[in-house]
């Protein structure tokens, strides 16, 4: 794996753990950091030994926001030419399950990064929010889009306009996070969940993710057609044969991801 400055990575038992690593600035997300996350995501997505990706920060902050210093002097033209969100867009193209483990501050760009994860575990003490409004800007990496899809326009507007922090309890109530866990155990619980997924049929995980993501943005009819094709597709996999054979033979299946 490449030599990263802003993140740390390791692979263990089929799970790739990516830790945001700019502790001195509460993991503020710089452009370089996003490029590194994208690179790590893409590498792990291709690596056979990796079944699931876990993304986390540290105890104090998942990521407290974007790196403000980096963009303070930008104007519309420099931003357009820089096309920094290209890296962000790629984060959504990952086929393997991505689990986020959030402790502490998860604001602005940090919140948007968390929302790129498929499943979110958060500390009871984690805080989420989009404070961009207080700086005279707005979320730019999907914040208004994803919050709206998750909580509906009325509730989303309230949070985006006020820019106040949201507790983990509120985030869970609105379907933003899957589970709230004790601060001491966030990464551990996320890893435990990842280990369960790592034993599931990889192609099923992949096509289920694709179908769910499709359904979130398309009509019921189109999504049903899409689901059907993916369902058929799995019947050409070895794992489908193995899975159904193991079921009739009353034993645990051995999935190979083929």
């Amino acid at each position: 794996m490449a030599d990263f400055q802003s993140i740390k990575t390791k692979v263990e038992d089929g799970i790739a753990l990516i830790e945001l690593n700019r502790p001195n600035v509460l993991n503020a997300i710089s452009r370089g950091m996003v490029t590194e996350i994208r690179s790590a995501f893409e590498t792990f997505d291709k690596e056979d030994a990796v079944k699931v990706i876990v993304l986390t920060g540290n105890e104090k902050a998942f990521a407290a926001g974007a790196d403000i210093d980096e963009m303070a002097e930008d104007d519309a033209v420099t931003l357009e030419l820089l096309n920094q969100f290209k890296d962000w867009d790629q984060l959504h193209t990952i086929k393997k399950p991505v689990i986020g483990a959030v402790s502490g501050y998860c604001f602005g760009g940090g919140f948007e990064l968390a929302l790129c994860c498929d499943i979110l575990f958060a500390s009871e003490k984690a805080q989420f929010g989009f404070p961009e409004i207080k700086l005279g800007v707005m979320p730019g990496a999907g914040g208004t889009v994803k919050l709206t899809k998750l909580m509906g326009p009325k509730i989303a507007l309230e949070w985006l306009w006020l820019g106040e922090p949201m507790t983990a309890k509120e985030a869970q109530k609105h379907g933003i996070i899957n589970r709230t866990v004790a601060p001491e155990l966030v990464v551990e619980e996320a890893m435990k969940f990842a280990r369960i997924l790592a034993c599931r049929a990889p192609l099923s995980l992949r096509l289920i993710k694709e179908s769910v993501q499709y359904a979130a943005g398309h009509s019921v009819h189109d999504s049903m057609q899409f689901e059907r094709k993916n369902f058929y597709l799995l019947f050409s996999s070895e794992d489908q044969k193995e899975g159904m054979k193991a079921f009739t033979e009353k034993r645990h299946p051995q999935f190979k991801g083929k």
């Binding site: 866990v181 004790a182 001491e184 155990l185």
Partner: protein, 256 residues
């Protein structure tokens, strides 16, 4: 460092003394800020393993200083002053003891109720004074009081606003212990130092999840207990406790 409170720490215990004795330690905006800062500090300081809150002079705390400003927005006074202080106090995962040295009235009662333990001097008394000026118990009073003494008794205390003595408070289960005035501070010190030598992480987890139990059902609490036990089980104090038990000696807990 502080103007309206006194803050010191010794033997693992932080002592926060409300220090406006001439005003019976009534709360002002400055006192709220200073209490909040002091409480935050006790939460962060790893050497502190128990906290005592007490009052200077003859009162514990007489609640809001009514002589403050002319026409305050009471709602905002609570949101800005009392509420953050109470939230902070409850979120500290260390034992907090109210050493009720004298009268506790109004928000002074609330402050004591938000603590994990109350030790009262025989001179102490509690009075839900709000009703006497046509107000409602605040600063968590309506939350903690029924949980501590039961709904019926809490209604009596809050609506009738009668003064209750330290002994009556003990009978209601409001206070852990009543001590004679001459030995009061000593008794508090002994109690606090004892708590400070106990497994602090386990106490913090007990506090966290017992508080959460009020808003949870059984299956949630069972899961919290499993999470808490997993965490407590990985502390040095757990290892020390088990070894001390096997070796038939007294454990020496470090709070780690």
């Amino acid at each position: 460092m502080f103007e309206t409170i006194n803050y010191e720490s010794r033997a693992g215990v932080a002592w926060i003394t409300l220090n406006r004795p001439e005003k019976l330690n009534a709360f002002t905006a400055v006192m709220h800020k200073e209490m909040l800062a002091a409480l935050k500090n006790t939460g962060k300081d790893k050497d502190i393993r128990a906290i005592v809150i007490t009052g200077a002079g003859r009162a514990f705390c007489s609640g809001q200083d009514l002589g403050g400003s002319d026409n305050p927005d009471y709602g905002e006074v609570l949101r800005k002053g009392y509420n953050p202080m109470i939230q902070e106090l409850v979120s500290i995962e260390k034992p907090v003891i109210a050493a009720v040295n004298g009268v506790a009235a109004g928000a002074g009662v609330s402050l004591a109720l938000a603590c994990d333990f109350r030790i009262a001097s025989e001179k102490a008394s509690f009075i839900e004074a709000f009703i006497h000026v046509g107000l409602v118990p605040d600063s968590g009073n309506l939350y903690f009081l029924p949980r501590l003494v039961g709904h019926a008794k809490a209604m009596e205390l809050a609506v009738l606003g009668e003064k209750i003595s330290a002994d009556q408070a003990k009978e209601l289960g409001l206070v852990t212990k009543v001590a004679e005035e001459e030995v009061f501070i000593q008794e508090v010190e002994t109690f606090a130092v004892k708590l400070a030598s106990m497994p602090t992480k386990a106490i913090g987890l007990i506090k966290r999840y017992m508080n959460k139990s009020w808003e949870s059902d059984l299956s949630e609490v069972l899961e919290y207990e499993a999470l808490a036990q997993k965490t407590a089980g990985s502390t040095e104090d757990h290892k020390e406790g088990v070894s001390a038990f096997m070796e038939k000696r007294k454990p020496e807990f470090t709070g780690r």
